[in-house]
Amino acid sequence: MYAQMVTSDPRDETVEGQAFQARIDAGEKIEPRDWMPEGYRKTLIRQIGQHAHSEIVGQLPEGNWITRAPTLERKAILLAKVQDEAGHGLYLYCAAETLGVSRDEMTEMLLDGRMKYSSIFSYPTLTWADMGAVGWLVDGAAIMNQVPLQRTSYGPYARAMIRVCKEESFHQRQGFDIMMKMAKGTPAQKKMAQDALNRFWYPSLMMFGPSDKDSVHSAQSMAWKIKMNTNDELRQKFVDLTVPQAEYLGLTIPDPDLKWNEERGHYDYSEPDWSEFYDVLKGNGPCSVDRIETRKKAWDDGAWVREALMAHSEKQKTKVAAE
């Protein structure tokens, strides 16, 4: 997901740790000034930070098409959507900051590779249909994860997710709307739509992360209610919802083994190539280097602006004090 493979620090087995777990079990929200185990705090910083980074890096693949959007309306919608992602990154950074880490520190950790962002944003957007596929599949997958996180145990994180989900409801719809136009358009547009689905299907499935049946980290995060469902549950739910939508569009999901399993009441589907996933996470995605370079350039180029605006404020304060 937007926070993939977040390792969870071990549970605190002290008396305080057990009392803390009891509060979570009782459905209480944990707030910034409350006592919390160090493991909970660290795991959350990693998870929320990675989620925030994903929103910010996630601006780039779609931002890639803002200047090439085919109509004025599409341009406005896409720009508004990518702008929302900046906003979501901002809300999430603020939530992480309540845990005692600054946004600048997190930004540096993203830029020097100590913190990750979601694997999906290391893939290129090559045609306009990719704007459809990203909205439909990538935002669709993200929503699966974000809706339950509105009930996560950490108050600021839950509140950020509530805001994100409220704003994000139009994102997936605009993606599907692009796909509908393309799938019912000229032969070239239909080809573009199918090509986009072919390229984004497996990377979208990877967003949920590898199967976590045996993962100790997942079990801990679920006990702390900072992870609400298993990766497999969410992935299955995503496939079940998406297959009929692809059928409606008249597009073919690039999985010859995809079929309805009457007994399970779910679709059977092929696993993505997990070695590709691990490569991407290691920074070997098709656009991994470009993405971080772009963010680093923006950050470095903007340093004089951030510094100057602060310097001006300081000057004004000194002036007022002198008067």
Binding site: I56, Q59, L60, G63, I66, T67, R68, A69, P70, T71, L72, E73, R74, K75, A76, L79, A80, V82, Q83, A86, G87, G89, L90, Y93, W128, I178, K181, G185, T186, A188, Q189, T294, K297, A298, D301, G302, A303, W304, V305, R306, E307, A308, L309, A311, H312, S313, K315
Partner: protein, 251 residues
């Protein structure tokens, strides 16, 4: 009159279109998240204004073209925007300086257009002027802060002002197209707005510790379409690419 009105509406629409496009190039790349969001808001305002002005232009023309047709299917010589707005973004300071010089003129112009005898023009201007009043609040504030920030930012802002000042004169150049419309009470006479513009920018630059260039030389040729800069063609190759590559498709 229809020809002149169409021409003039293209000027309004193309200014918004090209400047909105330039601002949208910042999305995801601004100096800080808060500014990224703010600059996209301004870009969105301009895209909206484009739809209104080019939409009205298309209606006035009456040839069955839409605002999108006008945006996506005209070549450089048919564009009527000011040279100022097609200048590349440069660094953040140049973008903000370009924005401020444009806003300082734009707000005066729109205020005049709210009193147009043309009902639709007046209605659009009344909606748009509210957006533009916020734009200048923001760009003026940033020019002052960056001009009077650090030595580095001061120097960058002075360079930006020197670089862009020669594009100011075109905004106040009244040509036959505008003369016709001024006589009919459809648009304000921009030459009469120059004093207010100068007062605005002089005050801002004084606070920003920036020096106004001594020469008032003005590049012309954007709004008349006679000679755009080389930059516009590159902008259009991106903006119009899909519509050109797949003619007749619906998006």
């Amino acid at each position: 009159m229809t020809t002149e009105l169409f021409e003039y509406l293209l000027r309004l629409g193309d200014n918004s279109l090209v400047l909105g496009h330039r601002l949208s190039e910042w999305c995801g790349k601004s100096p800080i998240l808060e500014e990224d969001i703010a600059i996209s808001n301004t870009a969105l305002d301009f895209i909206g204004q484009t739809q209104l002005w080019l939409g009205l232009a298309a209606t006035v023309e009456g040839q069955g073209r839409s605002a999108d047709d006008l945006a996506m299917l005209r070549d450089v010589w048919d564009f009527r925007n000011l040279l100022l707005v097609e200048q590349p973004n440069g660094n953040f300071g140049e973008t903000i300086m370009r924005q401020y010089l444009f806003d300082a003129w734009h707000v005066l112009l729109l205020d005049g257009l709210t009193r147009s005898h043309h009902q639709e023009i007046s209605a659009i201007a009344q909606k748009v002027v509210k957006e533009v009043r916020y734009h200048i609040e923001r760009s003026r504030d940033l020019v002052i802060r960056l001009g009077d920030g650090t030595p580095v930012s001061h120097e960058k802002m002075q360079i930006a002002l020197d670089r862009l000042w020669p594009y100011v004169g075109e905004m106040f150049d009244v040509d036959p197209v505008e003369h016709t419309l001024i006589e009919q009470g459809l648009i304000p006479d921009t030459s009469t707005l120059r004093a207010a513009f100068d007062a605005e920018v002089l005050k801002t630059f004084a606070t920003a510790t920036l020096t106004l260039p001594s020469s008032n030389f003005a590049h012309l040729g954007g709004k008349s379409g006679k000679r755009h800069s080389e930059h516009l063609g590159h902008l259009l190759t991106q903006m119009q690419w899909l519509q050109r590559a797949y003619p007749g498709a619906t998006w």
